[in-house]
């Protein structure tokens, strides 16, 4: 009989052989193969393969279940023995449980954090059919992906493609002043199409999301703030002292894991109040556009259809559009830059490493104590225990320990959770009924650590020959020594990587905080200016300048820490018309350059002595270089179709976060109505009384409007808060990892000195010194530490290079950091093993040798 060529994977077939009883398995696999061929003929290979695997895996469950039932009595015994062992060696169990608890708590926290990151924007009911439109801008020599579009894109798409069932646009209005009776608050607002509320899941709890042009929707917190207990629906509020709106509805506070956060939603029609707004404006890419696809439609298909939709509207530039699923808005690298994803990936990796370190720790300690168990293993084997029984025994011990550690780590995590949430801004709980995935992860972590930690003792110790073990002539083979060395090396390598990462991240955070931005941020204070305040700016500036505690007063549309927008509406004579150059810009008042102490390379700053400075521009070196004319001072520059001339070139300074580089930039002189911030340079002395003076002046000139001020160095600090926190967290993790590594090391050294008792005795008798013997034992570890450095350095270098790449301005990685980390580990290790080795070397040789 010839065998038909079978398409069945060998592994699946092998599993079949195992899970069915010996008498049955050949028939069962025959049956499976026969039906596999039937399904292969009926519905193709993929279906058939799927069916086969499903059969095999599902069949395995009854098999496993049966085994458990049959062995339950034996298991009871395993656990009993494990429990007795745990109680008999309390200090050992304590170290083990502490190590595992730390490892499991950290990895649990990290798992929770990672899950939080994944949960972003998943709360929308239609997440799977929701998409955000992104634009791919083709610049002269690079492309840029932005996640906003021009106004007409949304409606155009919806009208062109029937597969797109809905679309919605919104624009950030930032903070606007809302007044109701005597209550005045600035609230973060957006103007949006009302379809926003039907597409996304922001549940309305009162009123409706009507499309009335003068109605607004507010969130619960804001409603509470303005209206307290009374019903807000139907109440009238004033916005920016100009417009009146009716509150039409209240929506639930937006969950923290939403990318988009706002408190008040104005109707999109509100935008028509601005003269610069046109429904057909294709050049202003400030609108976020969402679309919803028909459930049956394939996103890829639509993507390829829409890619060129908007290109007809641009002559100079190519812009492609694409869909971005709501599922990957938060962690997408192309739009959000690599840092978000890197942090995500980096933390997951650390979680796994920590768990691994604590498992290795457990293995080292069990190896160290293996000689105590020899007799037990021998006895078990002699009275008929199979190897399987002994493996089970060890696994139940490690699982018992990991379960106990799990309970402790849940308690620990629960205690730390609050602080953790404050620290990271995540909003997480350990509630497993709400979060099934968390339960799976918890069980996964417990079993993973139990099984990995127990694997070495279980598989290795169970292989001893009972005769050797009982006679005491057992020799540890070369293999086991190599394996232990690999474990120790891995542990050290991971610790070194942690130390290096912690140092580099801290260094980068310090670097960002102390970087010379090209302007002076000391004693700079800024006051938010909105609505009517601008009218009083001139008087205020005059009054403030009278105080000797105040050096200078100026104003700007953006703060020097962040010029958030850039434009391609800049032209000059001799500019290549094909080339698109994006220029950062800011509207400033006189004295801007002087207040910030920005160095001028050429020319002058804005001055009241020159009447036509309204048409003058100060540019930075990067833009001067682009223009490339000599002399650049006096050259013409057209900004948003307004011709003017360049009067000064400022030295390149950082006007955005250091995560991005310095690009061409221009400063434009504008009057008070274009300003958002008053910027004040204080004298370092008596700031308290100066502040008091400022408050008093403010209240006198602009009564009734709260003074909102802050200091720029605080802003800078909060800009780099993430890096700072990451550095601190890494230090804590490093410390804990070191602790675990060391406790494992202690166990291992005591094991080795135990084995070498006789050798040490003989050496001492022959005249070896204590230091000589200590050196002998330490030498082995020194080699291992050198090897782990060799492994850890390139790995850490690679990881840190990737991390630093996400910053335009980054600290250099110097060799010193690496050497210091390596030496540090060396010292720590020597201190740890020092005590044990010296103790062993001091022992009286007679004790070790008297039985020979």
């Amino acid at each position: 009989m010839t065998r038909k060529k079978s398409n069945i994977p060998k592994t699946a077939e092998r599993i079949t052989g195992i899970i069915f009883k010996p008498g049955i398995n050949k028939y069962a696999s025959g049956d499976l193969e026969e039906e596999f061929h039937l399904i292969l003929k009926e519905s193709g290979k993929r279906k058939a393969l799927f069916w086969y695997w499903k059969q095999v895996l599902l069949s395995a469950f009854p098999y496993i279940g049966k085994n458990i039932i049959w062995n339950i009595i034996m298991y009871k015994n395993y656990i009993k023995i494990a429990w007795r062992n745990l109680l008999n060696h309390k200090s050992y169990s304590f170290i083990n449980i502490t190590g595992l608890t730390i490892g499991m708590s950290l990895s649990l926290l990290i798992a929770v954090l990672v899950m939080w990151e994944i949960s972003y924007d998943k709360f929308h009911e239609n997440t799977d059919s929701l998409y955000r439109i992104t634009e791919l801008l083709y610049h002269e020599n690079h492309t840029q992906r932005i996640h906003q579009t021009a106004v007409p894109v949304g409606p155009l798409l919806k009208n062109t493609y029937p597969e797109i069932v809905n679309s919605s646009r919104f624009i950030n209005l930032n903070e606007m002043l809302f007044c109701y009776e005597d209550k005045r608050f600035y609230e973060y607002s957006i103007a949006a199409d009302r379809s926003l509320f039907t597409m996304l899941t922001f549940p309305i709890i009162e009123g409706t999301a009507t499309s009335e042009p003068n109605s607004i929707l507010i969130d619960e917190t804001t409603a509470e703030k303005f209206f307290g207990a009374s019903d807000p629906v139907g109440k009238h509020v004033t916005v920016d002292n100009q417009y009146t709106f009716v509150v039409a509805g209240i929506f639930e506070d937006i969950p923290k894991n939403s990318t988009y956060q706002f408190h008040i939603v104005l109707p999109f029609e509100f935008m028509q109040n601005f003269e610069w707004f046109h429904e057909n404006n294709w050049s202003n890419h400030n609108y976020t556009t969402f679309i919803m696809l028909d459930e049956k439609t394939d996103a890829e298909e639509i993507n390829s259809k829409i890619i060129n939709t908007v290109n007809d509207h641009y002559d100079e530039m190519r812009i492609d559009i694409a869909l971005q699923s709501f599922n990957d808005i938060h962690l997408n690298t192309e739009v959000n830059g690599p840092s978000a994803f890197f942090a995500f990936f980096f933390f997951s990796l650390i979680g796994v490493f920590i768990l691994l370190i604590s498992c290795i720790n457990f293995m080292n300690l069990s190896t160290a104590r293996s000689s105590y168990r020899f007799k037990e293993i021998g006895m078990r084997k002699v009275i008929g225990g199979t190897r399987k029984n002994i493996i089970c025994q060890f696994f139940s011990e490690s699982l018992l320990l990991s379960f106990i550690s799990f309970v402790f780590s849940v308690i620990l995590v629960q205690l730390a959770l609050n602080a953790f949430c404050n620290y990271t801004g995540a909003q997480v709980t350990l509630n497993v009924t709400e979060n099934r995935m968390l339960l799976v992860i918890m069980i996964g972590i417990t079993f993973f650590s139990g099984i990995v930690a127990g694997s070495y003792p279980a598989l290795y110790l169970s292989s001893f020959m009972p005769v050797n073990v009982l006679k005491g002539t057992h020799r540890f083979g070369k293999k086991s020594r190599t394996f232990r060395r690999i474990l120790v090396t891995t542990q050290f390598a991971a610790s070194i990587m942690f130390i290096i990462s912690a140092l580099v991240i801290t260094k980068q955070a310090d670097f960002l905080l102390n970087y010379d931005t090209g302007w002076d941020n000391e004693n700079l204070m800024h006051i938010r200016m909105r609505g009517d305040i601008n009218n009083s700016y001139d008087i205020l500036k005059n009054e403030l300048n009278k105080n000797p505690g105040i050096q200078r007063v100026t104003a700007g549309y953006y703060l020097p820490t962040y010029f958030s927008s850039e434009t391609d509406g800049v032209d000059w004579q001799g500019k290549d018309p094909q080339e698109t150059i994006h220029v950062g810009w800011n509207f400033v008042d006189y004295d801007f350059i002087e207040t910030l102490k920005i160095n001028m390379v050429e020319g002058r700053s804005f001055s009241e002595e020159f009447a036509d400075d309204e048409h003058s521009y100060i540019i930075n070196e990067s833009l001067a270089e682009k223009i490339g004319r000599e002399p650049v001072i006096g050259a013409g520059l057209t900004f948003w179709d307004k011709p003017g001339k360049i009067i000064g070139v400022a030295k390149d300074f950082n006007y955005r976060t250091l995560k991005v580089g310095i690009q061409p930039m221009a400063l434009l002189l504008r009057d008070k109505n274009s300003m958002q911030y008053i910027i004040i340079k204080l004298n370092p002395e008596n700031t308290a009384s100066t502040l008091k003076f400022i408050t008093n002046t403010w209240e006198r000139i602009i009564p009734g409007i709260p003074l909102e001020y802050s200091f720029i160095d605080d802003d800078i600090y909060s800009m780099y808060n993430d890096e700072d926190i990451l550095g601190k967290v890494m230090k804590i993790i490093t410390f804990l990892a070191l602790f675990m590594t060391c406790s494992g090391l202690i166990g291992l050294v005591s094991f080795i000195t135990d084995k070498k008792q006789k050798e040490i005795g003989i050496r001492k008798v022959l005249g070896a010194s204590v230091s000589g013997i200590a050196r002998l034992i330490s030498k082995e570890f020194l080699n291992l530490i050198i090897i782990s450095n060799v492994i850890a350095w390139p790995a850490a270098y690679f990881m840190m290079t990737v991390m630093l790449k996400s910053y335009a301005f980054r600290t250099k990685q110097d060799f010193g950091t690496y050497v210091i980390s390596g030496l540090f580990i060396l010292v720590i290790a020597l201190l740890t093993i020092g005590y044990q080795t010296v103790k062993a070397a001091h022992k009286n040789p007679v004790e070790a040798l008297r039985f020979e």
Binding site: A28, D31, E33, E35, P62
Partner: protein, 115 residues
């Protein structure tokens, strides 16, 4: 004294009936396919064989080897057929069924049934 026969479980009844229906051709594939088709529920070979083993132990069925074939990778079939006590149990189950349901049919339920 005759020990009173225990009642069959629904599943056992289903399997015995299927084996009886398949006559000489009752083995893994045919039994599973038949049951899956009739009940619309998925049974894996793991379940099928553990039930068949149970029936074997209880003495309701007996097994013997069949011919090997190339579709089965040259392996033999394991054919099942009812023993007399298996047939008796099946008969009892049927009578029980009839006694309990009497002359209730789909029509008896009327409009509610069609819903």
């Amino acid at each position: 004294m005759r020990i009173k026969m225990k009642e069959l479980s629904k599943i056992e009844e289903l399997f015995l009936l299927t084996i009886w229906r398949l006559k000489e051709n009752a083995y893994g594939v045919t039994i599973r396919r038949n049951i899956v088709e009739r009940t619309g529920k998925e049974y894996t070979y793991g379940t099928v064989y553990s039930i068949l083993e149970n029936l074997l132990v209880k003495g309701y069925v007996e097994k013997h080897e069949g011919e090997p074939s190339s579709e089965r990778g040259g392996r033999r079939k394991l054919l099942y057929n009812l023993t007399s006590s298996g047939f008796q149990a099946l008969k009892n189950a049927y009578e029980m069924q009839r006694a309990v349901w009497g002359n209730v049919t789909g029509n008896t339920f009327g409009a509610e049934y069609i819903k």
